[in-house]
Every structure is written in structure tokens, then in C-alpha cells.
Symmetry: C2
Subunit: 314 residues, 2 copies
């Protein structure tokens, strides 16, 4: 039996991440009451139907009142305004956190609004799927994924440790780093990958010489892999790019430089340059599998049954 | 009970594709004898252990003698020399085919060597995994995938139809197009995706500010999706780029142009441009799922058990 870490947890926003926190926290038995708030009345009603909390509030001020921990689970472009709204209602000593994919901008947006005595511990669980909304939530989303904490100077180390324990109980591994380093790491491991995935799907859709139907039929050659992250939530990802501009542009510059070298190797028939890179990249995947962040099953373990089923429907 | 389509099928090369053809053909009951040849004595012995054929030959001339159908299952850079070696031993009326990811170059390399009366039907099954070699082969690899035939003018339509029936019996859907159109379609649905996947994995590995260990730990943010196709066979993919230069450079030019526009939108804070693209791309994935070429299960259906198991090993 786990001990209660937060008697009252308030979740502002109840989509894939907020909903999965609610389910994982209940699975772990580490929360007393989960208060849920979201702006959309429909989403709030749906979260209630899905039993993602104990109380449901259109007004975030009601949700955070008396909460021991408040987690903003909303797009990073919205955290400043949300913090301004709830700041006056936060309980002294409460932990306030978030789940945003960008951290320096989140700190800059939230910190000015926070009263003395509230413990600010920004967090980013590096986990998700291509689906969004409360229906996409599931309790095991954070199992063996990493959650990065980026506490600003002056945060009570005990509050950081409490939130770290909470995330570990949700199944995650926890690491602490500066917001700036986080933003650089995530630019290459998440933001630029999303950008080029969105980009190639757009490029393919715009061709005149190849039809969209052909793109779809022959996508098993590799293209379809990119469409998964290119189906991620548009608002969330717009906000990520607008709020991590410097790091994304830096990493994108390097990506472009390297791609230009490959382009030149293709144009001039330099097979050795291609072969050497293509050999080196295999080791990285093996490392990711060894680190428990990826499956070794061929083709991501895509279910072959579903293909067969799809065929029968033809 | 299926009818035998080829009394003797010769497979030159017995890796992922060749091995899977052997297994799928046996599953379908459409071949009498499968003769296997490959240059590597070790691979040939392994294919024998795995029971991927009925006879095994170091000399491809022995394998193709009296064969009704010969399929080259080797990198596209090697098909010219292989065809020159076996051409004199081909049975009159035999179908000769391949499985290369590039078609115009394959036609240009193979056609000059082929004797009169042999039926040349180049083919490309758009299917695969990130693994290679005979151990990676499995019978359902082609189920509901597409196989593209690109017969040159003068090929007997009956031979084209026979090979189409054969591929359908292996589980595939079949489409016919010109080699040039094939190369354009595959440049966008397969070749450029592989190139940018290889490229971003290389970029990430070369950073000084982010460690390789960090790249691996936080890869669940999107990066890991790219590592799958970046772990594909280096020789095969070097040959693809060297043999489909024009179409790859054309599609890569468009990709770069589109990426420059996104880069500019990020630099200037143009959220609408980002949001509009990110919304549009979701429809393409839905289309691919509807076309039976992708699973709708979240996260490709990556097994969560394996993550849990990996955690226990920590």
C-alpha cells in the first residue's frame, strides 16, 4: 500500500497527459482527491464520464483551492494566463508544476505570477502518443519513460524531492536539469523530429506528380512512420515551436547542414559517405532499445492482425 | 488447395525479402521447388538451417537452371553483374524479376544482358522491416502490402499476369506502372524518408551540447520513431540513393523548400502557418490507416510489456 503524497491534486487541463496523470496517480494510490478543471465544458463532462477525477470545475480557482499540488496540463502558450488566474488561490507551501515540452519559456511565463511560499517545480514527462484529449489517457503512459524536472533557483529541495517521488510512483524515471539544457535536449530528441515529420507529410501532400492516393498506398516504404508524430496535437506543437525558437533553430541548422552533405554525396555518387553514416546510425537504435525506451520487435511490433482485418474489409 | 504457379523458383539472394518470398510462397502452396543461391557460404548455410528452400547453391547458374521464375533479391547495385552471370543459363520462356526499391536503374542494368525469349518483369514489394538477413524473414511480410510491377515494353502480358498472380498469392496487392513513375513515387514515400531519418540520427549523434546518453534516454519524445528506418541495411540503402539520384534530389529539393518556410515561420513567430500545416497532416495519416497500410493503435501498438520488462531489468 502506497502512502498518500498529495491529499488534493489539482489538474488544470485534462487531455492525454492530464488524464494519464489522474489514472496513474490513482493506480499508484498516491493521491487523496483529484480536482479537475478545464475550459471546455464538453471536455470536462467527458473527463467526468471517464472518471478521471473526484471533482470537476469549470473555474480553475475552485480546483486549486486547498490543493497540495497543482499541475498545469495545457499547451505551453497558455500557462502564463492560467497561472495569473489561479495564483491568488494557491495554498501556501503548495507545489505548482506543469508538463510542458518547453521549460525556459514556461518558467518565464509562470514565475512572475507566483506568490512567495509556493514551490515551483516545472516538469516534463517525455511520453505521449499521437492521440489527444481525455479519451486518449491511460494509466501506463509514463511507465519507464523519463520525467525531467527543472526547478528554478530558490525552490525548496524538499518540494523537488516530493514531486520526484510522485513521478516515480506514476512509473517514470526522474532527472533534474536546467530549463535551458532541457530545451536543447528536447529540441533534438523531440521538437526537430516533429517538425521534419510534419514537413515531409506536407511535402508529400503537395506534389503534382504523385497523387495523394499513391502516397497512402505505398507509405509502408517508410513514409508512414513519420505520419504518426505528424498527427500530434496542432495547438500543442505550434506553441512548442513558438516557445523554443532559439534551440529549435540551432538544431535545425545542424540538421540542414548535415542533410546538405548527404545531398551532395548523392549528387556526386559518393557511396562511402552514405554507407558510413548508414552504418553508424544502427548503433544508436540499439542503444535506445538497451535503454528500455524502444521495443526490439520488428516494425515497432505493429499488429499484423490489423492489416489482415483491413484487407478483409476491402 | 492452390495450384502450382512455378514448378521451380530460383531466389538469388536470401535475406529479409528473399527469405520471406520463400516462406510466403510455401505458405501459399504455389511453388514446387525453391532453389536458393547467395554468395556468402555462411548465409547459404543459415538459409538451409532455416529451411528457406529445397536446394542451396553457391553458384547462381545452378540455381537458375530449369527455373520457371528467377527473382533477384539483392541490393540494386548488384543486379547488373548477377544478371550477366546467370543470363546464359536462363530457360527460354522463364520469368526473370527482382525486388529492388529502384526500377529505372534496374531495367537499365539488367535488360542488356537478357536473352531473347526470357520474360523480364521487374517488381518491387513495398514491405520490409528494419532487420535484414535470412533470420529476419517471415511469411506474412507481404500481407496487404503493395507490389509494384514495371514491365518494359515488349514483355509478354501473360508473363506479367502470371507474376501478378504469384504476388497476390503471397498476400500482396499488385499495381503496374512505368519504372520512372515508380522511382518518383518511392522517392517521396520511401527514399527521402529514409534519408532524413538517417540524417537526423547522425545529427543527434554528433552534438557536443547534448550527450548520446541523453539522446537515447529522452528519445520517446519522437526521435526514436526515426531510428527504426535509420537502422535499415546500409548496403541496400547506399545503392538506392546512388541509383535513384534524380528523383531523390528532386523530392529532397521540395522537402528543403518547405522546411525553409517552416524555419522562417518559427523565426518570425508565425503561429498560423505552423498550425495550418499541423492540422492538414492529420488527414494523411487517417487516409493511410483507412487504406489498410497502418495501424490505428496508439504509438504503432508498441508493446508496453517490453517497456515494463526492460524496467525490471534495470
Amino acid at each position: 500500500m502506497s502512502e498518500i503524497i498529495f491529499q488534493r491534486l489539482a489538474l488544470i487541463g485534462i487531455g492525454l497527459i492530464g488524464g494519464s496523470i489522474a489514472l496513474a496517480a490513482r493506480r499508484a494510490g498516491v493521491v487523496g482527491h483529484v480536482a479537475v478543471s478545464t475550459r471546455s465544458v464538453d471536455t470536462l463532462a467527458r473527463a467526468n464520464e471517464l472518471n478521471l477525477g473526484d471533482s470537476f470545475h469549470v473555474d480553475p480557482v475552485e480546483a486549486v483551492r486547498d490543493a497540495d499540488c497543482v499541475i498545469l496540463c495545457i499547451p505551453v502558450g497558455a500557462v502564463g494566463a492560467a497561472t495569473a488566474t489561479i495564483a491568488g488561490a494557491l495554498k501556501p507551501g503548495a507545489i505548482i508544476s506543469d508538463v510542458g515540452s518547453v521549460k525556459a519559456s514556461v518558467v518565464a511565463q509562470m514565475k512572475p505570477h507566483l506568490p512567495e511560499g509556493v514551490q515551483f517545480v516545472p516538469a516534463h514527462p517525455v511520453a505521449g502518443t499521437e492521440y489527444s484529449g481525455p479519451d486518449a489517457a491511460f494509466a501506463s503512459l509514463f511507465d519507464n519513460r523519463w520525467c525531467i524536472l527543472t526547478p528554478p533557483p530558490g525552490t525548496d529541495p524538499q518540494a523537488v524531492e516530493t514531486l520526484a517521488v510522485f513521478w516515480r510512483k506514476l512509473g517514470a524515471n526522474v532527472e533534474t536539469m536546467t530549463p535551458e539544457h532541457h530545451d536543447l535536449v528536447l529540441a533534438i530528441t523531440s521538437h526537430v523530429p516533429h517538425l521534419i515529420a510534419y514537413n515531409i507529410v506536407g511535402t508529400a501532400a503537395d506534389l503534382e506528380t504523385v497523387t495523394e492516393s499513391e502516397v497512402m498506398k505505398f507509405s509502408a516504404g517508410g513514409f508512414r512512420d513519420f505520419t504518426r508524430i505528424a498527427a500530434s496535437d496542432p495547438t500543442m506543437w505550434r506553441d512548442v515551436f513558438l516557445n523554443n525558437r532559439e534551440a529549435v533553430l540551432e538544431m535545425l541548422g545542424r540538421f540542414n547542414e548535415d542533410l546538405a552533405a548527404l545531398q551532395r554525396a548523392i549528387r556526386w555518387g559518393d557511396g562511402d559517405t552514405l554507407f558510413n553514416l548508414f552504418t553508424r546510425t544502427r548503433a544508436i537504435r540499439r542503444g535506445i532499445i538497451a535503454a528500455g525506451q524502444e521495443t526490439a520487435v520488428a516494425d515497432f511490433g505493429r499488429p499484423h492482425e490489423s492489416s489482415a482485418a483491413a484487407k478483409e474489409e476491402d
